[in-house]
Amino acid sequence: MAYLNSAVDVLQVPVIGRILRGRWGRLILQVPLVIFAVVLVIDGLTGPVEASRNLATVAPWVHYRGLVVLALLLAGNLFCMACPFTVPRTLAKHLSIRGKRFPKILRNKWIAILSLFTLFFLYEWLDLWASPALTAWLIVAYFVASFVMEAAFTESAFCKYVCPLGTFNFVYSSVSPTQIGVKNPAMCAACVGKECVNGSYAPQVAIRIDQIPVFNADGSSNSTQPKEIRYSPAGTLGCGTELFAPQIKSNLDCTFCLDCVRACPHDNASLFIRQPGRELTQPESWAKRWDLSLLVICLAFMGVTNAFGMVPPIYELQAWMIRNLGFQNELPMLVIIFGVGNLLLPLVATVITAGLSKVFADSDFSVREITAAFAPAFVPVGFAIWFAHYSFHFLIAPFSIFPVFQEFLGQSGNWAAFSGAVDLQVIGLLQMVVLVGGFLWSMVLAQRAALRLYQRAGLPGLLPWALLLLLLMLAALNIFSMPMEMRGTNFLFG
């Protein structure tokens, strides 16, 4: 175990491990979700227009979001693992190896930042949360976009560069307790085909004989033996997001599809238990790029804005903008509120904070390097903000999907039996614990980054970042202490 120092291989779990590693492992997870997605679309387009009675709104906005953050915290990126939108890649492999590579200039996270921005903006502007039909069309759009990009490019460009759900999961699976790794790095060094990334799929059967090392009990090797490596239509495509198993240090970009595990002819790649959030403490696990750092920081700010969209002050702010700035309709106001809160503010705050940190610590590092060092510290606090928000919606009606489903099937919904909910006060307490916990975790990460980067001047260099993290946490705490309102925003204009 090169990077993980973990001996616990999740895929060695009896039965489940075998199923997951098997050729159809991903499809077994995907098919139920595809069927479910089709059900949502049908209900969204033909069912009741009331959001609280329609699967298309209840399932994604209450249950998906609540469960996805829980899964990220406790297990890993389980949604991407079972993602229904990527079924074409699993089924029609020939489709996925034609085409070109995604344009080089776009191989970064800028589009992903914009698509997250767009999703949260549309959510607020179109009141997706209150509209089954629009949510259904959003699901259709995901299928189309994923299919088109899967067919046009060799890699999974949609997952890696565009998909907002995937991007959210990539960023916050960095807190997860699992990660892809290899059992024996020496095997990888000797591996000829690197099938984990290149794939074992071929339209026609092809066989290659590799000389592979024979390992002694102590891990050394002084002999090799021939091994038949088989490429065939039954093989697996290599990693769709182009990760190389022996070098993986982070869950970023990993969809947990396990294709690397299936493709490796030496049974060397697997999914391992690791210390939760391990990569956040390792300075080398993330590339020092602006797009990546800003993605993580913006996503934390987006968590605040998204929650702000649900409390009374946003209505006051909009009313004020109408009165004093003469706005005539909602679109430009939301563009400004979201543009400032989700893009401009994090950008400006980051540059100022990194600049101050550089000056205070009298450091030779560039602003980009400093930002990259502190960006991982925005993961726990950002995750806590999203977790607090999504679990709120989930916990006030955790079983509501059952009666809605009963009604979908034409029965009468047994609401009395499924009306269980967690007390609002308990949820409030949970939110507070989560936010403070996330903040403290962030502070530990920021402090380590400061010591690593600035050594003796760690404290002054840490100060601006600590302040920014504190402000984020306090803003979120403040918002969650207000009563949430579930209303459309259109009322302002009648």
């Binding site: 609280s52 509501s400 609401w415 909910a421 459309g488």
Partner: protein, 128 residues
């Protein structure tokens, strides 16, 4: 093969997704009024009054009244009340506005002779 199976499933689902339409539609012979017992509607317990009239504006007694309050946003359990007894055409029930925001209340009235009427009322519920 898989594709065909999938199409089959799809058709099956289309057929299964046959939600029954609400039995009651607007009935011109019945009028429903919903009265909310407070000036400003805020989160918390309250009383709701329903009055049922016939075409000649006479109050109707002995109807079954069902009240279902939903929020216009996904993810709130509806508040459902059944009122069996009413006096002088007045039907009263306790009701809880469980969350601030946009609500709509569907009142379904079933007369002793089985005729039905359904009416929707919308409210904005504020914080106390």
């Amino acid at each position: 093969m898989l594709l065909r199976l999938f199409m089959l499933m799809l058709i099956g689902l289309m057929a299964a997704g046959c939600r029954q339409d609400a039995p009651a539609t607007d009935n011109p012979n019945i009028q429903i009024e919903l009265i909310v017992n407070s000036e400003r509607i805020v989160v918390g317990e309250t009383l709701l009054f329903v009055q049922v009239y016939d075409a000649e504006d006479n109050l109707i007694d002995g109807a079954k009244v069902n009240i279902r309050g939903d929020m216009s946003h996904a993810g709130m359990t509806p508040v459902i009340r059944d009122i069996e007894t009413g006096r002088d055409g007045q039907y009263e029930t306790s009701f809880e506005w469980t969350m601030a925001g946009d609500w709509f209340i569907d009142v379904t009235v079933t007369l002793p002779d089985g005729t039905q009427d359904k009416e929707r009322f919308e409210y904005v519920v504020g914080v106390p």
